[in-house]
């Protein structure tokens, strides 16, 4: 099962006549950190919305042999597909630990739901460690900062034991070091899972992407390795822009740090 891939074929999403996603196909496999990039409004979030059942789409999105489209949200999650949101959304009134416990509860029987929680699951402890929230188990999630909430969301996906992680701008608002930490975390996670990241931070993409899909106006503009995509003149025109120059500067910084 671990080698089941996420295969999206000819995905289309329309909003009363407006085509937000117009026939997108791509696939993502365990072991890679797949990036989905593209201009604002290209349809990246909408793709994730469609795959996770939040909006209706046509075409196909399969996880292994299972078709995801057309199922209700919670059923898709139960198949192992988890996501984060562009604006972090956690349960403000519950503590970090409770947030995680609920996320972990997915695989519990409904009878056990009626029992009280005793102790902390291994998986939760691990997730706390991995995401640097180990010091905050009793903090109400509502008062975490922007970045901490994003980590909490990732931690929730971890305890949920999602096979597919769809992350919508997971490092937005994080500082450089935090981005690095998050990227490394994603690489570790990706060893056994499918990780799909939407990001605008090209620096981040270059460092952690194994393969990249570029969307533009609801269609796939380009697909390939970081280098291939960056070299694509169309991508440069609609997305990267004159940042070609900035790119070299950023690359320099990366190299400098890796020394």
């Amino acid at each position: 099962m671990t080698d089941a891939s996420l295969v999206v074929t000819d995905l289309r999403v329309e909003f009363s006549g407006f085509v937000a996603v117009g026939g997108v196909s791509f696939d993502a496999h365990p072991g890679e950190v797949r990036f989905l990039i593209g201009p604002n409004g290209a349809g990246k979030t909408t793709c994730i919305d469609a795959i996770t059942g939040l909006t209706k789409g046509t075409g196909s999105a399969r996880l292994g042999d299972t078709e995801l489209l057309g199922r209700p949200v919670h059923k898709i999650v139960r198949l192992g597909v988890g996501r984060t949101f562009q604006t972090a959304s956690v349960f403000d009134e519950l503590t970090v630990l409770q947030n995680l416990d609920i996320a972990a509860g997915l695989h519990r029987s409904s009878v056990s739901l009626l029992r009280a929680r005793r102790g902390v699951d291994r998986s939760i402890e691990q997730a706390l460690e991995e995401t640097g929230l180990a010091g905050e188990p009793a903090t109400p999630a509502g008062i975490l900062s922007h970045g901490q909430k994003q980590w909490l969301e990732i931690a929730m996906l971890l305890v949920q034991d999602a096979k597919v992680l769809l992350l919508d701008e997971p490092v937005a608002g994080m500082s450089h070091d935090e981005r690095t930490a998050t990227g490394e975390l994603l690489q570790r996670i990706a060893a056994r899972r499918i990780v799909l990241v939407v990001e605008h931070d090209m620096d981040f993409m270059r460092r952690f992407a194994t393969r990249v899909t570029v969307l533009h106006q609801g269609r796939v503009l380009s697909q390939g390795t970081v280098a291939e995509v960056q070299a694509d003149p169309q991508v440069q025109e609609v997305y990267l822009g004159t940042a070609g120059a900035a790119t070299t500067a950023a690359m320099a910084v990366v190299l400098e740090r890796e020394d």
């Binding site: 999650v77 959304s89 609920i102």
Partner: protein, 363 residues
């Protein structure tokens, strides 16, 4: 964190001793009977606490379920009193017509008890399923349930021969074979109501400390987000809603032998809101708050309503305003606030309850 549930359990124990042992010793028959009535409201209030306080569903129409239990019980007691005859009030409007069909099964005590439990489960189950699957929530849900209570009250008022109408059902002589006028039996009825209240408290105590309790709060605060954790929030809410309906029904059922009369006014808009008032006063999300609040409001109505009838509406009105305005978590949050004020100023503030509500009203 983990110790607190056991303190609460101790609290329930103290409460049980007060209700079951102390009260019958110190209170006059009249006040014991009144306390029994407040217990019935408290049972319903405990359910409201679960649905509203923890689940975020402002159930403004608990009168509907209160009515199911109450009228099931009242029909049985009416038939028990009437014996083989058609109940007296029916004769008044259409002297020669037979007993309406839907009354017949209520001759059976077993059926009646099953109905008190089963009717609210079925009705709340169907209603909740329909509403929650369609994602009706927030103010819509509140107004809709309130409208249901009004509709049911008007329906009962307008079917005078079948249900006793606005006048209601009253004048019961027996309670499952026991003569209601006998003081010993009245004490027994009181004890049953008080015991049921304790049982309901124990039930929500377990709910609150369970994972389900946390899930319910999560659903209250971010329903859509819960979906993305693989739960269907509709089911989570449904469980809480059905349980709260069941409690309302049980409260209603016990109301009938204790008070001796049930009318549509006890289930309509005003009555349903008064049930909420107790819960808000006591503290919607706390364990004891709803029950104590309901008892306090009931007592206020009996005593202040007597000594100062013109003033009682003002007091009740002010109570609503002051408590909601200054103590959104009810009187039961006072000790915590007090404690927090004395502790060093680094504890996080009590989070505001209704962040999610805002979205609901807006969306």
């Amino acid at each position: 964190m983990t110790k607190k549930p056991w303190i609460s359990l101790g609290g329930i124990g103290v409460f049980a001793v007060l209700l079951l042992a102390v009260a019958p010793l110190v209170l006059t028959d009249h006040w014991l009977n009144n306390l029994g009535k407040y217990c019935c409201w408290a049972i319903a209030a405990v359910g409201i606490g679960l649905a509203w306080g923890r689940g975020g569903m402002l159930v403004m129409g608990q009168g509907v379920f209160f009515a199911l239990g109450a009228y099931a019980m009242a029909m049985h007691l009416t038939l028990e009193t009437a014996g083989d005859r058609v109940p007296g009030f029916m004769v008044l409007y259409d002297p020669l017509a037979p007993l309406p069909m839907f009354w017949e099964p209520f001759r059976s005590a077993g059926f009646t008890l099953a109905a008190i439990v089963g009717l609210p489960v079925v009705v709340a189950g169907a209603l909740g399923y329909a509403l929650f699957k369609r994602r009706v929530k927030g103010a819509y849900f509140a107004i809709l349930t309130q409208a249901l209570a009004v509709a049911l009250a008007v329906l009962i008022s307008s079917t005078i021969r079948e249900t006793g109408g606005d006048t209601g059902l009253s004048d019961f002589k027996y309670f499952f074979g026991f003569v209601l006028n006998d003081p010993a039996n009245r004490l027994m009825v009181y004890l049953i109501a008080a015991a049921l209240l304790i049982v309901c408290l124990l039930a929500v105590w377990q709910f609150y400390r369970s994972r389900f309790g946390e899930l319910l709060v999560a659903t209250r605060d971010a329903e859509e987000r819960v979906r993305f954790l693989g739960y269907d929030p509709a089911n989570v809410k449904l469980v809480a809603f059905v349980v709260s309906a069941l409690m309302a029904s049980i409260g209603g059922a016990m109301f009938v032998p204790i008070v001796g009369i049930i009318t549509p006014a006890e289930i309509g808009a005003a009555a349903s809101i008064l049930m909420i008032a107790g819960v808000a006063l006591g503290g919607r999300a706390s364990l004891f708050g709803p029950a104590l609040g309901a008892i306090a409001v009931g007592w206020g109505q009996s005593s202040l309503g007597s000594t100062w009838p013109d003033g009682w509406p003002y007091i009740l009105g002010l109570l609503f305003i002051v408590v909601i305005l200054f103590l959104p978590n009810g009187l039961s949050s006072l000790p915590a606030r007090f404690a927090a004020a004395r502790r060093k100023p680094d504890v996080p503030p009590t989070p505001v309850i209704a962040a999610a509500e805002l979205e609901e009203v807006r969306s």
